[in-house]
């Protein structure tokens, strides 16, 4: 949490314009007019041992077991997806291997009708919020229909995966503005990477969230790399959390491989935001154990040593140790989970593989609410051309992915 020493009045027209003329000024370095600090929290060390007093929920099986189960599910889905990609059955895929503690805790901390605006690496949060596995595969298989979340209790107001980095941050401001304007007890959650914090969109969104004191929680998922660019080359800032100081927003760092810490920070931030306390920034320190995507080769730019060191901090093993120690989890539970997870993944993969290809005209049918007259001819021509082409290439050599 950052703690401004001087709290300027927030009334319109006076903020930051506070009259300095009355300040007596001694000393040679000028008087201090604002002070800030960034704090870091973890509950579980890399062995899953508590390093500080645990919050009550950390011993509540109803909270902790679903988190753990979804972390395992997320990793299993990543494995499957990479396998599908390697065999040409899926497009480029970004694993969240190593980041499960953060991504799942984000999803778990949110309320049903909060709105998630995330990147391609929030699979865990999406799963927790009710996006179906088959939809996630459908999306990465190259079909936009995977973003039309249709599962039971699906988060229909959540934004689709955001690919252009940080461009969803301003959306989150709009979503939160609507919530606040309508006096709804809802919160927008914007998750983005360490690389994303270098973009102006992120900053403009932070600033807007501060100005309007919106119910908006930003989570910086600092996995230390933006493709090949390390955190150190991304910014000279000592922490990424302190980016929030630029917008007058409170911020904190947590151990992102400690799901308890992430969940706790998110819960607090969400309930404060829900109560009208305004925005908050959580920087979760984690690590991307996989390549950036299946199109990347991380060995080009990072050392085997570093990877080895970080593997030891695995959030899943860590949480399992804690759960076992707290008697919330057993070897038998683990075996059951493994089986159930494998079955779910296989079933979803089968469902995905059985999906019919999207009809070509889909590219026109959702462009506008109603197809403009001007486009009707093109749509017809597309349908005809695609049919002719498919008839010709019935052997399917061209689009056989």
């Amino acid at each position: 949490m950052q703690r401004p020493v001087e709290k300027a009045p927030s009334a319109r027209g006076s903020r930051g314009e506070s009259d300095r003329t009355s300040h007596a000024d001694t000393g040679s370095a000028g008087e201090i007019v604002a002070q800030f600090e960034i704090r870091y929290t973890r509950f579980l060390d890399e062995n899953g041992r508590a390093v500080r007093e645990l919050p009550a929920f950390a011993r509540d099986p109803d909270v902790m077991r679903p988190i753990y189960e979804h972390m395992v599910l997320t990793r299993a889905l990543d494995r499957k997806a990479v396998a599908l990609q390697r065999t040409g059955q899926l497009g480029t895929y970004p694993s969240s291997f190593g980041q499960e503690g953060t991504t799942v805790a984000i999803g778990a901390a949110m309320a049903r009708d909060d709105v998630l605006l995330g990147t391609y690496r929030e699979t865990g949060a999406m799963l927790f919020r009710g996006v179906r596995i088959a939809e996630i595969l459908q999306y990465w298989g190259g079909d936009e229909a995977g973003s039309d979340y249709r599962g039971p209790g699906a988060p229909r107001a959540d934004f689709p995966i955001c690919v252009p980095i940080a461009t969803h941050a301003p959306h989150a401001v709009g979503v939160a503005y609507a919530m606040k304007l309508r006096r709804e007890p809802r919160v927008a959650v914007c998750a983005l990477g360490d690389g994303a914090t270098s973009k102006g969109d992120f900053y403009e969104a932070l600033n807007g969230a501060g100005v309007w004191q919106l119910p908006l929680v930003f989570v910086i998922v600092n996995n230390q790399w933006a493709i090949s660019v390390p955190r150190s080359a991304q910014s000279h800032a000592e922490t990424l959390a302190q980016k929030a100081i630029a917008a007058g927003i409170p911020a904190e760092q947590v151990d992102g491989d400690d799901a308890v810490a992430v969940y706790q920070a998110m819960r607090n931030a969400l309930s404060a935001a829900r109560d009208g306390a305004g925005p908050h920034v959580v920087e979760a320190l984690t690590y991307r154990l996989s390549d950036h995507t299946t199109a990347d080769d991380a060995s080009r730019y990072r050392s085997a040593d570093e990877l080895e060191r970080r593997r030891a901090l695995d959030p899943i093993a860590r949480l399992r140790s804690h759960l076992e120690r707290a008697k919330l989890w057993s070897e038998a539970d683990e075996r059951r989970l493994e089986e159930a997870t494998a079955a779910r993944i296989e079933q979803a993969a089968a469902e995905f593989l059985a999906l019919p290809p999207p009809p070509p005209e889909a590219m026109f049918d959702h462009l506008f609410a109603q197809l403009p007259e001007a486009l009707r001819e093109q749509r017809d021509a597309l349908v005809a051309a695609a049919a002719a082409h498919r008839a010709e290439t019935v052997s399917g050599e061209e689009d056989g992915q």
């Binding site: 973003s147 689709p160 959306h171 709009g174 304007l181 807007g208 959702h366 506008f368 609410a369 403009p372």
Partner: protein, 344 residues
């Protein structure tokens, strides 16, 4: 149009009044006020649109009437303005955002192209983006550098966006209502040069004009003049001069630049056999090029003469001293028409 908004528009028909002799910018103001009144999901946002009422006064009085939550002064951040509008729209609001001048719209391009125009498509209709982005455009008011842009073709090229340019107070009123009620994103460009140049009576009865269709401003059988925005003035003036010499020009105001109503244009060209396209934007890859290209495909056989374009030059819009040398003049339009008349 959302059901609610349509109903509100209809219910409103009873208490309409006629705004007498209002300017284009006043018509914009009236349309905004009408929709803020009729539809609680409408909100207006942008730089200086609240307390100050907009640098062109397009939002004057709205802050006082609808309050700071619905008439929102934003920080100086165009990416934020466009981006938050998308978030608002996805949540069922109908944001009408203002960019202070078209020269400052470019930080919004990413949001318009990568998100606003494709949110519906990307989610197969689960989310949508009923937002309007208004921006004053064009040269001719001796404004500072970067204040005189007509870069509508950048936006017209983006699939999933509507681009609308009004050319009179009544069309500004009716088209802006339609834009706000439209379920998809609309870029609404208001030519500053005609913000206060013409006045006319406008019925403030909530009646929208149709989008996606051209308006025929003048009938004629000899040549088709296609134009939009501020250039409609010079085009109509040219048509008058031509009429004095017995040449009857049909003048078409395209109004919605994308999607493009080519039918009206092609029908006219079929009748006249000649076409001159007039716009203030630079010629190269302007919207006029698209119109000419479509005629050169679908209407070629009815052409009696080359298709001419009278446009801004392919250079940066010059600063005040030379801006009038940049814009199409009536005499240039007349000359182009004469060329096409001689060609046959």
């Amino acid at each position: 149009m959302s059901g609610a908004a349509a109903a509100a528009g209809a219910a409103d028909q009873g208490r309409h009044s006629t705004l007498s002799e209002i300017t284009l910018v006043e018509a914009v103001n009236a349309a905004l006020a009408h929709e803020l009144e009729a539809d609680p999901s409408v909100l207006v946002l942008g730089e200086d649109v609240g307390v100050n009422g907009g640098v062109f006064r397009a939002t004057a009085g709205l802050y006082e009437r609808f309050g700071p939550e619905r008439v929102v002064d934003t920080p100086l951040a165009e990416t934020l303005i466009a981006g938050m509008s998308i978030g608002l729209a996805a949540q069922g609001m109908r944001p009408v955002a203002e960019i202070q001048f078209m020269g400052f719209i470019y930080p919004a391009v990413d949001q318009l192209l990568n998100h606003a125009s494709r949110l519906r498509n990307r989610t197969r209709g689960r989310l949508s983006c009923p937002m309007v982005l208004r921006a004053p455009c064009g040269a001719g008011i001796h404004a500072p550098e970067h204040h005189s842009e007509s870069t509508e073709s950048l936006f017209a090229h983006i699939p999933g966006l509507r681009v609308v340019v009004p050319s009179s107070p009544a069309r500004a009123y009716g088209l802006l209502l339609a834009a706000i009620r439209d379920p998809d994103p609309v870029v609404f460009l208001e030519p500053t040069r005609i913000y206060r140049l013409v006045k006319e009576n406008v019925r403030d009865d909530g009646t929208a004009l149709p989008l996606d269709v051209c308006f025929v401003l003048r009938d004629g059988g000899d040549v088709t003049l296609v134009t939009w925005g501020a250039a409609t003035r010079e085009t109509l003036e040219a048509a008058e001069r031509l009429a004095q010499d017995g040449v009857e020009a049909e003048v078409i105001d395209v109004a919605t630049l994308a999607p493009l109503d080519m039918q009206t244009i092609l029908e006219s060209v079929e009748k006249t056999g000649r076409c001159v396209i007039v716009h203030e934007a630079a010629r190269n890859v302007g919207v006029g090029a698209e119109i000419a290209a479509r005629i050169a495909d679908e209407g070629l056989m009815s052409l009696l003469a080359p298709i001419k374009r009278v446009t801004g030059w392919d250079t940066v819009v010059p600063y005040a001293k030379l801006e009038h040398d940049y814009m199409p003049r009536p005499e240039a339009i007349v000359a182009a028409v004469r060329e096409t008349m001689e060609a046959a």
